[in-house]
């Protein structure tokens, strides 16, 4: 049995992140699975000048951008779905503080797949012919932007074909529903592009809502789409995607989604949000208390809870996780 990779969130951020890194997360949808808690910890440790690779914006990127911790970003979608525009990201882009290079929601996983496979480029049948191809925030003076989605000649037909550049982020913080201490992970709900990201990133840290015994993985190996061999560390952090949702685990916290996005619309609101919801807790218990027991119970009463039923018997109790985490920290 491989040793446990469980470490505390703060330790994961200390070990695996640095200013200026190419940081991928949000490998899920704007209101779904995302390691939002990892982003809060990045801010708590003062990380800055991040190059964010987010398939979609999420409240994590919205917060990181609002605070000014992100200087470059690449996204397929930069809103918050029904919750509207992402005010923090929007302010950063409109002010010119953040260069946001636009792609589509297919282009991003394709670019991650290209990174995962170590390809030199990825064929593009989308994004071509639009301003996504012609405009690059990373090369604003070039119009059309020649290096963003250049063209090759298809040797089979002689036709021009666009190609994307692959992505290989320095680190990916990936939210998963369940992980075992070795780093095998099960995602409930759409993978979005977490599979591709887990192979494309140079290093992967999992943020799991719950830790399960490896016996769970042996019972459901086809569900383990992220195997331990691609994972550096595992962080146990219930409600890690809050205020976003985690299918099988908890619903989106509509009230906090609105409160957060409203706060991020201004400098003052952002500072207040940071005081109240980023710098205000000392540990996981403090974080959970911040959400509140009543609210957590309400969010956990999700209509998708049945999706978790087959795996509940393998969820490790908090004391076992703490013991494994203590072992992982000194490893």
């Amino acid at each position: 049995m491989a040793p446990s990779k469980l470490i505390p969130l703060a330790e994961a951020v200390r070990r695996f992140t640095w200013d200026g890194m190419q940081y991928a997360s949000g490998a899920a949808l704007p209101i779904g699975s995302d390691a939002v808690a990892f982003g809060r910890e990045l801010l708590r440790q003062g990380r800055r000048d991040l190059h964010a690779v987010f398939h979609c914006n999420s409240q994590q990127l919205n917060l990181l951008a609002a605070v000014g911790a992100v200087t470059r970003a690449e996204c397929g979608f930069s809103g918050l779905e029904v919750f509207g525009f992402a005010n923090g990201l929007r302010r950063a882009v409109e002010s010119g503080r953040l260069a946001l290079d636009d792609y589509s929601n297919l282009a991003m996983p394709l670019r991650l797949l290209g990174g995962a496979l170590n390809w030199p480029f990825v064929p593009a049948t989308v994004n071509v012919g639009s301003d996504i191809q012609d405009r690059s925030a990373f090369a604003p003076g070039e119009h059309p932007a020649r290096a963003k989605i250049p063209t090759v000649t298809d040797p089979f037909t002689g036709r021009p074909v666009g190609v994307f550049s692959p992505l290989k982020p320095d680190i990916a913080a990936i939210h998963v529903t369940l992980a075992d201490p070795q780093g095998n992970a099960i995602m409930l709900g759409t993978e979005w592009s977490r599979y591709e990201l887990s192979r494309a990133a140079k290093r992967v840290v999992l943020i799991a809502d719950a830790i399960v015994d490896t016996a769970c993985m042996r019972q459901f190996p086809n569900l383990v789409r992220i195997p331990d061999i691609v994972v550096e560390a595992v962080v146990h952090w219930p409600f890690a995607a809050w205020p976003q949702s985690s299918p099988g685990m908890y619903d989106v916290d509509e009230e906090h989604m609105r409160l957060m996005n409203k706060a991020l619309a201004t400098e003052e609101g952002t500072a207040q949000y940071r005081r109240d919801f980023v710098d205000s807790y000392d540990d996981l218990d403090g974080y959970l208390a911040l959400i509140g027991a009543e609210r957590r119970a309400a969010l956990a009463a999700t209509q998708t809870a049945f999706l978790l039923d087959p795996y509940r018997r393998w969820i490790l109790p908090a004391e076992d996780v703490a013991a494994l985490q203590a072992a992982g920290e000194t490893a």
Binding site: I31, G32, E94, V126, D251, T302
Partner: protein, 262 residues
């Protein structure tokens, strides 16, 4: 006594009518999902729908989903895969019959802008927008790959522009056969369904023409709210009012009344 039909509801019903039974369809979040599931609930029970996240076989429960991974759409799926699967293998591949997309701006040739609003042309240098919007999302992929797309937009003059500030999702580009330059497998937008009526492309020029209006709107109002010199298509006419069964079906789908607030 039934509450009267709102403009948003009329737009959703008119959009839903564009969906045919048995089609493979992709719906975005919000209005387009309501329109799509209305069609399924009403006249297209065999529509095979998916979200761009790779959620298959699901119908929303408990109200309008907040997003495409929302638990309201994930509670009764038969398959969860990925964005690459849904937008790539099923949409960009050319398999998907119809996609419904939204637009902050749409132009004469059905090009869609959801990326940003600039004060005038962007110019040679790509400068920050005055108002940053949500980006292309999956709409670009749908606009390139779906056999046809239906664009939904609130009909306001500022949104219906001679030329969009930024093409997030290609319609017919400069019109005519401009799409063929890029080898898109998809056919382009077949309709722009708005809060005031329906526009459809001229078969040759691909310029969008007014094809129909609602009981509460008309040619003059629509032309006044369109930023280009909107022509009226031969054969244009009034769009049938919602039937009782249409309205009932829509309101079952829109159980939280998202369309009745606007």
């Amino acid at each position: 006594m039934t509450q009267p039909c709102t403009r948003q509801e009329m737009m959703a019903i008119a959009t839903g009518r564009e969906i045919r039974d048995g089609e493979l369809a992709i719906f975005g979040v919000g209005l387009s999902m309501l329109a799509g599931f209305f069609a399924q609930a009403h006249h297209a029970p065999g529509v095979r729908s998916m979200t761009e996240g790779g959620v298959y076989g699901a119908t929303p429960v408990g109200g309008l989903p907040w997003g495409i991974e929302c638990n309201r759409i994930s509670a009764n799926a038969t398959s969860f895969t990925s964005a690459l699967d849904a937008l790539g293998c099923l949409v960009a591949s050319g398999r998907c019959d119809v996609g419904i997309i939204g637009a902050a701006q749409v132009d004469r040739f059905g090009n869609v802008n959801t990326t940003g609003i600039w004060d005038g042309p962007i110019g040679e240098t790509y400068r920050p927008p005055k108002t940053r919007l949500a980006g292309a999302g999956g709409a670009n992929d749908i606009a390139c790959g779906a056999k046809r797309t239906v664009i939904m937009a609130a009909h306001e003059r500022k949104r219906f522009a001679e030329r969009v500030d930024y093409i997030s999702s290609p319609g017919y580009l400069e019109g005519g056969d401009a799409r063929s330059r890029h080898g898109f497998v998809g056919g382009g937008p077949s309709a722009i369904v708005t809060t005031l009526g329906i526009l459809r492309p001229d078969p040759e020029t691909k310029e969008f023409l007014l094809d129909g209006w609602y009981a509460f709107s008309g040619v003059e109002e629509i032309r006044a709210n369109t930023g280009w010199d909107l022509k009226v298509a031969p054969g244009a006419g009034p769009i049938p009012e919602p039937t009782e069964s249409e309205l009932a079906a829509l309101r079952r789908v829109d159980e939280t009344g998202a369309l009745r607030k606007g």
